[in-house]
């Protein structure tokens, strides 16, 4: 399984597609949320399922974090999961960003709502770049402040060895809100996305 590697061309191509999708997403989000959403340059890597929990634990060790997951699947065997990670102090301004009445919406619903918006807006843009159509599962809170992330990650078992991982940070400066998005495209789906990338590279 571990013979999958991303060539430099493939990585550059993916990076470029993601940059375009991020630009589009940022634009759309600014219109809908009426505030500027800054997306930070993505970090792309292939990651072993064995080191993933460790990596998460390292990155979010000290803080209570909430994790929201949303699955996506499209044509040509493209599928994966988007994880949105919020540090505790970020969870408050969301209702305001979304333009909800205070008290209208529970904290968990604020999290799932904003997660779904960030995930689907970005991924729809990416799908458009690769001439694909994505569908999504409903967002679900995987772990919240009360159940620590490490605790949850220890219980995970993966049915894949390797995943393509894309990290993107979101910042809403006006509301000093930020969160991290981690896209995971596991196992066979990596090969499928490589085919798509190769096709795009060939057309150049």
């Amino acid at each position: 399984m571990n013979e999958i590697t991303l060539t430099e061309e493939q990585r550059d191509c993916l990076q470029e597609l993601i940059n375009v999708a991020m630009g589009q997403a940022s634009d759309k989000l600014a219109r809908y949320l009426q505030t500027f959403v800054h997306l930070q340059v993505p970090y792309i890597e292939l990651i072993d399922s064995e080191v993933l929990p460790e990596r998460f634990a390292e990155t979010y060790a000290q803080e209570g974090v909430s994790l929201v997951s949303q699955g996506f699947y499209g044509e040509k065997g493209i599928l994966g999961e988007s994880l949105l990670i919020y540090k505790s102090h970020d969870a408050h301004g969301i209702a305001e960003i979304l333009g909800y009445e205070p008290d209208d919406v529970s904290e968990v619903e604020q999290l799932t709502d904003i997660s779904s918006i960030l995930t689907t807006t970005f991924l729809n843009g990416l799908a458009e770049q690769i001439d694909n159509q994505l569908a999504y599962s409903a967002p679900r809170v995987v772990s919240s402040m009360e159940t620590p992330l490490e605790h949850h990650l220890q219980q995970l078992s993966f049915n894949w060895d390797l995943a393509l991982k894309v990290d993107i940070s979101y910042q809403v400066v006006d509301f000093s809100f930020n969160c991290d998005m981690v896209l995971l495209i596991p196992g066979e789906a990596i090969k499928n996305i490589q085919k798509v990338l190769d096709q795009i590279l060939d057309e150049f």
Binding site: K28, L29, R31, Y32, L98, G99, Y100, E101, D104, V105, S106, V108, E109, T112, D113, S116, I117, T120, T121, N124, A135, Y136, A138, P139, R140
Partner: protein
């Protein structure tokens, strides 16, 4: 029948609600599932505003949700776990479930006209998840019940030792950290074996239950009574010094000694010996208090039973 006809028949008859609204939130489509559960007919709702048809719907939130689908051209979701229902409707299990309204998972889908990339309608799919809701509630009740059982002594219904010690550990570290007072009362029924031998074990059980009830009724909020084992009980008293504990202990001891317990044709009286220990900053574990309260309790026994002793270092 051609495929399009089959599709529209399926959408009309599918066991989920399907609605379509335009940019002004006017209803364009309302399938049969929606008709039968909302008790409204498609002919009377088509062309009307969604919020006029469902005045109980959370307007501001739902408007923003639908707006996001139009503006971002992405789907949106609502889950019963966060919001039990959006459209107040009956469900299809009025007999076997307890909830009054249909629990709903909802998907909002952008609909673009052929050849365009900007949606001009939003499709709303309403899944009835009342069953899931119902089982989840049952599970929650069961877990609550289980939690209660796991921390309760079966006979006397006061906290069992495991839970009592768990709480004691917390109270002990809180008291030490904030330098708050904390006292422990340990009491043991006097000559309990004689009661068992004389009247039988059921009589002994009755005495334990009566003692636990009497004590429970004399406690203040925040005090915790637990069965430590056999005929020995402990009471955790947060924010209480030795003197406060002694006053309470004396009241308990006296009232219990006056209690007449009826078992079959026998009237039984019993007494208890009590030991008290106040928390000291030199203690490192809650067990340090248990040991010392026990020493005081034994002193009460040695000096003739039916009395209260405060541990003196």
């Amino acid at each position: 029948m051609d495929v399009a006809a089959v599709q529209s028949l399926l959408i009309e008859r599918i066991n989920s609600g399907v609605l379509v609204v335009d940019e002004e939130c006017r209803l364009v489509y309302f399938n049969r599932f929606m008709e039968s559960h909302s008790l409204l007919s498609a002919s009377e709702v088509i062309g009307k505003n969604l919020f006029d048809i469902f005045p109980d719907a959370p307007k501001r939130w739902l408007q923003r949700k639908i707006q996001s689908v139009f503006m971002l051209n992405t789907p949106a979701f609502s889950s019963w776990e966060q919001r039990q229902f959006v459209f107040k409707m009956r469900h299809a299990r009025p007999v076997t479930t307890s909830s009054e309204y249909m629990a709903q998972n909802i998907t909002f889908i952008p609909i673009c006209d052929k050849g365009t990339t900007e949606p001009d309608k939003v499709g709303i799919i309403v899944d009835d998840v009342t069953d899931v809701f119902f089982y989840q509630e049952k599970l929650k009740d069961t877990l609550t019940e289980l939690e209660h059982v796991s921390r309760t002594d079966g006979l006397t219904k006061v906290s069992n030792r495991r839970y009592w010690e768990e709480r004691f550990r917390v109270e002990f570290s809180t008291a030490q950290r904030h330098d708050h007072a904390l006292s422990l009362i340990m009491f043991d029924l006097d000559k309990f074996k004689l009661i068992n031998d004389q009247y039988g074990h059921q009589a002994g059980d009755l005495v334990l239950v009566e003692a636990a009830n009497l004590v429970e009724n004399l406690l203040r909020k925040g005090d915790l009574l637990g069965r430590y084992g056999g005929e020995e009980f402990g009471i955790i008293l947060p924010n209480t010094n030795a003197q406060g504990a002694a006053e309470l202990a004396e009241r308990i001891r006296r009232q219990f000694s006056l209690l007449k317990m009826q078992y079959e044709k026998h009237t039984i009286s019993a007494t208890m010996s009590v030991g008290i220990c106040e928390c000291d900053s030199r203690f490192t574990r809650f067990e340090d208090m248990v040991t010392r309260a026990d020493l005081a309790l034994y002193q009460s026994k040695r000096e003739g039973r039916n009395q209260v002793t405060i541990y003196q270092a």
